[in-house]
């Protein structure tokens, strides 16, 4: 299918167009995963700290 070939060739500029798009998607994906993971981890840590606190308070009571 010549259409697909032309699409990937990007008028001869494939060497520039595809890496540009690739790096944008990679960086945005990495930033997304790092941020969401950081947030989820902080939720877990906070929940654990609060549980320990409640546990200790009920032990002392």
């Amino acid at each position: 299918m010549d259409g697909m070939g032309q699409f990937f060739a990007m008028g001869g500029y494939a060497f520039y167009v595809w890496p540009a798009f690739a790096i944008v998607l990679v960086v945005m994906a990495l930033l997304w995963f790092a941020s969401v993971r950081g947030w989820r981890k902080s939720e877990q840590t906070l929940a654990a700290l609060r549980r320990n606190r409640r546990q200790r308070e009920s032990d002392e009571a």
């Binding site: 540009a20 944008v24 939720e43």
Partner: protein, 239 residues
Amino acid sequence: MHYFANPARFTRLAGIIQPWAGALAAILLVVGLYLALVVVPADYQQGDTVRIMFVHVPSAWMAMFCYSFLAVASAIALIWKHPLADLAAKASAPIGAGFTFLALVTGSIWGKPMWGTWWVWDARLTSVLILFFLYLGYMALWQSIEDGQKAAKAAAVLALVGAINVPIIKFSVDWWNTLHQPASVLRMDGPAIHPSMLWPLLIMALAFKAYFVALLMARMRMELNLRRIRALRLAERTS
């Protein structure tokens, strides 16, 4: 603004906004990428390299928008002492730095075939590189100062000092002779981009904006949690 100063209320709101903004970003991104890569015709002058514009320009816009957001939040933190303002500034910095990096890299990749070089030290490119260093310096400042409140203040001052760079970036192509061409969208005579290319550009810009909002909500919730964790640990040590 003060309505959202209550952390619990903000957290609830952020929890609702984040998934919706994320979904919107994903949808707009898919649509925008399809338009940019498949539908939009080649440019009369730049051929298929023009497709790089659809990621380069939105990245550059976000790079400047994030810094403006960061600077305004810093001013609000310094002047109104809003409890969430410095968190908002801190949370937005990595996102802005990422977009600035992308603007520089995609711009360089686009410049090589069209201009004939990967880089020049003209006013536009140099000032955007400075913006990137400002982001890094801002984030480093937060990391390097132990005391949270002192770090917030120092970072806010740096943010405001660096804010002068934003209008410099915008007007660099008008004030000095540059290799980078003048503005194509936000200019006195209206956009110099054909509608068939302008609309996909605006869709990509909106996609990047929604992505920013979603990530900002996640990062701000994370910063709030980290603040609470620090407070709890401090209380335990002293009790």
